[in-house]
Amino acid sequence: MEISLASIFVLAINAILIENLCLVKFLGICPFLGVSKKTDTAIGMGLAVTFIMTLSSFITWLVYHLILVPANLEYLRTIAFILVIAALVQFVETALKKMLPSLYSALGIYLPLITTNCAVLGIAITNITENYGLLFSILNGMFCALGFTLAIWIFACVRERIEHCDIPKPFKGFPIALITAALLSFAFMGFSGIEF
């Protein structure tokens, strides 16, 4: 993949629309369902994930190519990545608690959940399997996270409107959210036809 504006644009469109992290590749569903009750927490979550994913793509690429490959420890890949991501999330958690306490209390339980977020690890491993260069890995991480933010923001807007409609009793809460997510992912499947 030679580095040119066109290929970066292709990567962006691919990561945000065609293979959207949440609605097409189905990674990171737990926070996607959990935090999307209000748009502002959804955006906060999206930005936190963007920050963590960009940083983690950068560090995991370095760890893989500078430590694991020379010592041919590829089988340790998952553990090393998870260790880095968990430490990174913990670091961001303490930093956020100090600098943005309002966002920290809004995200609350969902910040540690990012560690187990399949998206962050999924993207870190995809960067390796697609053997992207360093720059492409970082960009891919950022664009995928922006795709996640877009999906969770749209979902949060829809869910806020659902609060006001009267939904049959058993469907209140998560079932109606899941059905909305299904419709949203049907819509996003429309993008899969685009070819560059």
Binding site: A71, L73, L76, L83, F91, T94, K97, K98, M99, H164
Partner: protein, 263 residues
């Protein structure tokens, strides 16, 4: 074979060391003055984040207790023995909080009261009341669309034939329904009160007569019959002073509109 294992262990151990140190350093650098007592208080509070204390959730209330010494009896659903423990932590004596319960002062609702127009919009009281103050001729009455019911965390409110009714046993008196109701027809009364007035119509008697078949006319019969002076007609609607009322039930019989109820 052994060397491979040693290399693997060494690599990850070093990574663990660096990351552990970074975390330790971060927790020092970003150390937020976290009051030990706050964590203990959060532990003792019920943790339902119901907002009954007027704060956004238990951790905020604990914050307020520790930092700006907020009175600790605000939490309606906190168990008394926990309350004692909190008072020890904070060193403030806690007088036992009187259990309050929500009560909807309307017995008409959209099945009994006459309507101004046919409303087919969103089934939500806030939306309905935006349109000429609601479709009921009596502009104080309950619209019966259940915004309070869906907002109640203990789901203690249910809609029965067009009017909201509170199930006293499961209501914790958190007061969320009060700020949600657009008609302001809900208020908090002591849980053990027997008698209450089921109307909040402040129009003159003559006007109320053709507005709703069970509206209070402000005829003051109840005020006269009550030997303890517990019932007062204020601004055309009867209201009971619970400290004086002994629930003898005389006003309940005398009331021509039968809107004073006894549980």
């Amino acid at each position: 074979m052994i060397i491979e294992i040693i290399i693997a262990t060494a690599c990850l151990a070093v990574m663990g060391l660096i990351l552990g140190a970074a975390l330790g350093f971060a927790s020092k650098m970003f150390y937020v003055k976290e009051d030990k007592r706050k964590a203990q208080i959060i532990e003792l509070l019920p943790g339902a984040n119901c907002g009954g204390c007027g704060f956004a959730g238990c951790s905020n209330y604990a914050d307020a207790i520790v930092n700006d010494s907020e009175p600790i009896n605000r939490c309606p659903s906190c168990k008394p023995e926990n309350l004692e423990k909190i008072s020890e932590i904070v060193g403030v004596n806690s007088q036992p909080v009187e259990k309050m319960v929500a009560h909807i002062r309307c017995s008409g609702g959209n099945s009994v009261a006459n309507k101004k127009y046919e409303y087919h919009g969103m089934s939500d009281c806030a939306a309905a009341s935006k349109l000429l103050d609601g479709f009921l001729q009596c502009k104080y009455g309950c619209l019966g669309f259940g915004t309070c019911a869906s907002a109640c965390p203990q789901n203690a409110i249910s809609i029965q034939n067009g009017v909201a009714v509170v199930d006293k046993s499961s209501c914790v008196g958190c007061g969320i329904c009060i700020n949600v109701c657009p008609k302001k027809v809900i208020d908090l009364i002591p849980a053990d009160s027997k008698i209450y007035v089921q109307c909040s119509n402040h129009d003159k008697g003559a006007v109320t007569k053709n507005l709703c078949s069970s509206g209070c006319l402000g005829c003051k019969i109840c005020e006269k019959t009550c030997r303890y002076g517990a019932v007062k007609v204020v601004d055309n609607v009867a209201s009971i002073d619970f400290s004086l009322c002994v629930a003898c039930g005389e006003c309940q019989e005398k009331c021509p509109r039968k809107i004073i109820k006894i549980t």
